[in-house]
Symmetry: C2
Subunit: 698 residues, 2 copies
């Protein structure tokens, strides 16, 4: 496949402007490389060459300097064209310790790009902090070309802010993808690894181009076949996948089954303190590293939603994680242990139990007990990737524990890639949330970057949104979420608008009308989706299991701990310390007080924290019930308007891309009306309050 | 398998009473048979012998008289023991025409059993109207023995009231069963027919023992593999199944895919008026009958729930059914065409469309247009096997069309064989419903028996409840539904109590305490299930798709046409002619007026026909809302009481049977509390009316 849909943001569309093309050709016509050849450099050069071929219709001359060809070291060729260079390795030790601040020195994943002009000669110097940094620099350079950035603006030094920048595949060996909305797995089919890895390589290119440096390739719910991925039976195939990603600077991880010693190890238990179990895991780790020397480590969902874990043996999460960490430690591997732990067999009649409190209650008592190669992976909110949630109070509450923030790129609760919902603004809200853990300015982004509590290991992970659909993500506009995720965690200070524009230019070209319209649509897409689905932070009004489409009471009498308590008088969950579940007390001040106090609680989270009458006045001056009606009518109208806006771009972008998005937007507009009518009807029937503007409610 | 669970009502438990055993041994020690040996007579003898062996611990002496052994015709042996005889065939022509009333003559499926005593000798004469009648007589005789009926009471003449007595399997070739709650299919596994047909034979014995004479062996939703059952590829295997059932007097039918000519026939269409299509079906029928000379015919679900049908070609159901009937006619086959046709893509916002009206609207205009070997199969109610529905107004409305009533033995909406729900009383309500189609006394049972409108072909069909669970039906008490279905349609004038007692004696033995308790539990089980689930005929408050457990709004905003319209003030569907959908007008008077008039409408169907405020007073004097609370509290208590009653039988019946039922009853008691609390909480939150007795509502 080589269609516009497939190429996503690596279109490398030919530069039509003759002057600009000529300028790029001048500096990219000759590429010289200092340093030893390596897999990573080969990838960088391959990408550069195919980029130049496609963007500029040239085949650059390649000069290899350095160790292999020392005789060329003083050749005049090095004073023109693009000069690639890797920073000498003498400071790498420092840099790996996190000391990136040596003046003039680049971290191992950083790069510096410089355009120099003088004496009638132009050249561009690209220096990587390591070979991986150089690869990132190449992708950045090509991004500048695709965005038609003038050479004079090529002057940039970049370092990733977060050390671990990970993507989690929830792919199953049978080829299905849990919460996947873009076709089947590109990794597996019918219980086997796919043989043709072309698509895996193209996925690696997409991820590397936005700086992702880690991937777990199987679902955190580890089923029968996948449990055996860590054995000799499957490791040769896992190693093949690892080698594809390695060429793009991406380290491979596996999700493991905590009960593997019991199920496949012939050990009669999985007790983490049992010596046979510990020996089994050490042997398993040794076996893995004999196949994959740079294996990243394990991702673990334990004691969560019926997955096995240490609780079965009266042990805690620290016991479980440390046992695995001990096995990986000699090899430099890490354990990423998910904090998505709660009672999924809750009795809906019991209003004192609050799922939102569970992760904090489970994990904060363990702070300081985890080995230094354990990271806790914490979902952005306390529930589960809702359209709107407060930030998890775990962030900042464990000062002696490595932490990874988990986002969800796949749109499980945000329209399943049938509705457009650009999630970067949501993620930025999380990263910019001030936890006040160490006073003002204790932003989540500083916690997960490790800068606030000087974590040795930390970072961000997210659930992928890709599958084998031609355009990878089902909805072509959902490509922006994968792109944006990578770019944002590389640099959380990029704005949502900047990222949207970058993506749009690379994906659809540089027509200003397209940029303006498409970016505008992306920017308002999350607010629109929120407006016709989930009022005031209430969440969970979706069809059980599929999580698509409205079902207001779908989870109301279930065991999942996800309620809204709507009755004829009011709605919302009282999570205050004064009269509710006490969840607000898990926050540092002043957040705790702000959420606790009805007057101070932000409207968009009102129903998450408080149960209020339908007549309650919001800061907008509207009542809750009128707000529900208004947002749903306006939201459905806005969804219809998206379709109109997109139609205006017909003829300005590639027809296949245009048609794909248009079809999805039409579906969204129709489905938004269904959402509007179900939600409004539900609350009208319950409250009996008519719409203040007399619109049709059924 | 030969456990008590597996043997169901054919336990043939040893007679412990010495005197009674001796009496039975005297007459069953010698069995003489007049007539030609045949498959059916072999089955009768095999059943008699294994019955005598098990019940009486004797190996009866068998004397074969008649054609094969004429020299014995006057042997003194014929004046003692059990004498089996088949009525001479000279009147069979008459009898097949439905003229069963020739004095002293038996219909082909009837039998006469007589105990004669005199001159110090006892004998029992069993005469079958045909070999099949004789087989039914043998099962009846064994039933009398199992129930310890004294010989002096052995004097009975039986004729089945309904001609077609059918069971429909909803089994799929992959081994799954649509709406099956008792394990996997006994017919198929992983896309193939099962090789060992032992269990199929035992199923045939169970069915034959209660008089079932027809079976369709594949789901009415015909998938890919099953579409090819009517081809050379699968017919040899279908024929093997047919031969197993033939030995027990059961004729085999297949569900067919209306689009087969298009999908597997290489004909570019399935238009029923297209000559190529008609030729294809004729050839298909010829092929089938070359493998199965007594093949029964086709069962067809067309233009229903996305199944293909004649509508795609602008044809109607008569065109479709007649095309198939024409192909089968030369072979004596019939078409059973289901009337379960409605718009399953309804807009919930449209209150004028009423799914309840659909079957009547579709089919009554076609009365008189169907060939005489077409039967319309009509579900008992206008919706879909709810706990409580009115009787379908189609019954009696098509006086020139053969009709089959369809029941559902599998408990899709009635507890899925995890709750006990003895359905015979529900079915009797349907059969005894007076349609007034031809004045008073126009009972449904007279319509489907053919006696009211002198139908040539008619009868009753039902969806089976069996699977490969050891006890066939998941819940052992659910065996009573399969048993009761067969017995009731043989003779609709049997009472529910009589049938329950018959079944209990054969299944659990003749301990009077067991009979009393078990029959009592069966008799109140449907009212109990109704009380904690579905108030006042409202229906559909179940989890979508699975149809198990409460979800009051689960179908409220769906496309399925199944709503309750509950709001804060009231609940119910206005189906009156005056202000509602006009459904009531589909009934004959006085039914139409009774349902139309709020004061006359029976309470148990109130919300099916009327939308009323929660404060509406029922005939009981209670308000609707208090009735909801009361029935749900009382129902859950009654479910818990069932468990206590059953516990009292421990030690009185087989331990495996006791334990199996006890486990299900415990689950039911727990689940009934969930039902109670969800329904009560839903209506309390919506209505705001507190329980008059102050019980806990959440």
């Amino acid at each position: 496949m080589n269609s516009t849909l497939y190429r996503a943001w690596l279109q490398y569309s030919p530069i039509q402007d003759a002057e600009l093309r000529e300028a790029y050709r001048r500096v990219l016509g000759t590429i010289s490389l200092e340093g030893r050849r390596s897999e990573l450099l080969d990838s960088a050069i391959e990408e550069l060459r195919s980029g130049c071929r496609s963007l500029l219709d040239i085949e650059p001359e390649l000069l290899l300097l350095g160790n292999e060809m020392p005789q060329l070291a003083s050749n005049e060729g090095i004073s023109r064209g693009l000069q690639l260079r890797v920073q000498p390795a003498d400071n790498v030790q420092d840099l790996e310790e996190g000391n990136n601040s040596a003046p003039g020195k680049l971290g191992p994943e950083g790069f510096r790009l410089e355009y120099l002009e003088g004496k009638g000669q132009e050249r561009v110097i690209l220096i990587g902090g390591s070979e991986k940094g150089l690869l990132y620099g190449v992708f950045h350079l090509l991004r500048l070309v695709a965005a038609h950035e003038p050479l004079t603006a090529w002057n940039v030094t970049e370092e990733p802010v977060n050390r671990l920048r990970m993507i989690n595949q929830w792919d199953n060996a049978d080829g299905s993808i849990e919460r996947g909305y873009a076709g089947r797995s590109i990794f597996y089919r019918d219980g086997r690894f796919t043989e043709d890895l072309t698509r895996v390589k193209d996925y690696a290119r997409l991820l590397s181009s936005v700086g992702i440096n880690a991937i777990s390739i199987n679902n955190v719910n580890v089923h029968e076949i996948e449990t055996r991925f860590i054995t000799r039976e499957y490791l040769p195939q896992v190693a093949q996948i690892a080698s594809v990603f390695r060429k793009y600077g991406i380290t491979l991880y596996l999700s493991i089954n905590f009960a593997a010693p019991l199920h496949i190890g012939g050990v009669g238990t999985s007790d983490p303190l049992n010596e046979d179990v510990r020996r089994w895991w050490r042997a398993a780790a040794d076996e893995i590293y004999s196949h994959i020397p740079d294996f990243g480590g394990f991702l673990v969902k334990a004691d969560s939603e019926h997955r096995p874990g240490p609780f079965a043996y009266g042990r805690d999460h620290a016991d479980g994680a440390n046992m695995l960490a001990e096995a990986l430690k000699p090899h430099g591997g890490i354990v990423i242990w998910r904090c998505f732990v709660y009672n999924c067999m809750q009795d809906w009649r019991d209003r004192s139990t609050d799922r939102a409190k569970a992760a904090y209650d489970h994990f904060t008592p363990l702070d300081g007990r985890f080995m230094d190669n354990v990271l806790l992976q914490i979902k952005n909110g306390p529930m589960d990737f809702q359209v709107r949630e407060p930030v998890s109070p775990l962030f900042g509450s464990m000062k002696h524990t490595n932490q990874v923030l988990e986002f969800q790129v796949t749109q499980e609760y945000t329209g399943q890639q049938r509705h457009v919902c650009y999630l970067v603004p949501q993620w930025k809200d999380v990263l910019n949330f001030d936890t006040h853990a160490d006073g003002q300015g204790s932003y989540v982004k500083r916690i997960v970057s490790g800068s606030l509590h000087s974590m040795k290991l930390s970072g961000i992970a997210a659930v992928s949104n890709i599958g084998d659909d031609e355009n990878w993500t089902g909805h072509t506009l959902a490509q922006a979420n994968l792109y944006g995720y990578g770019r944002l965690i590389w640099n959380p200070d990029l704005t949502s608008e900047e990222i949207a524009e970058e993506w749009t230019r690379q994906t659809f070209g540089n027509d200003e009308a397209v940029i303006k319209t498409a970016c505008g649509m992306l920017m308002k897409s999350w607010p629109i989706y929120e407006s016709y689905t989930s009022p005031l932070g209430v969440g969970w009004m979706v069809t059980p299991h599929t999580h698509y489409g409205p079902d207001v009471d779908g989870y109301e009498y279930s065991r999942w701990g996800t309620y809204h308590f709507a009755d004829r008088d009011g709605i919302g969950v009282d999570r205050t310390a004064a009269t509710g579940t006490g969840y607000t007390a898990q926050y540092f001040e002043p957040n705790a007080r702000r959420y606790e106090t009805l007057e101070d609680c932000p409207d968009e989270l009102l129903l998450f924290f408080h149960h209020v009458p339908y007549s309650h006045r919001l800061k907008s001056g509207k009542t809750v019930i009128q707000h529900i009606y208004d947002t749903h009518f306006e939201g459905a109208d806005a969804a219809a308007e998206l379709l109109v806006e997109w139609a205006s771009l017909e003829g300005r972008i590639d027809p296949a891309q245009h048609a794909q998005v248009a079809a999805r937007l039409a579906e969204q507009a129709e489905h938004a009306k269904h959402w509007r009518d179900v939600i409004n009807t539900y609350f009208f029937r319950k409250s009996g309050v008519p719409d203040g503007r007399g619109r049709t409610i059924f």
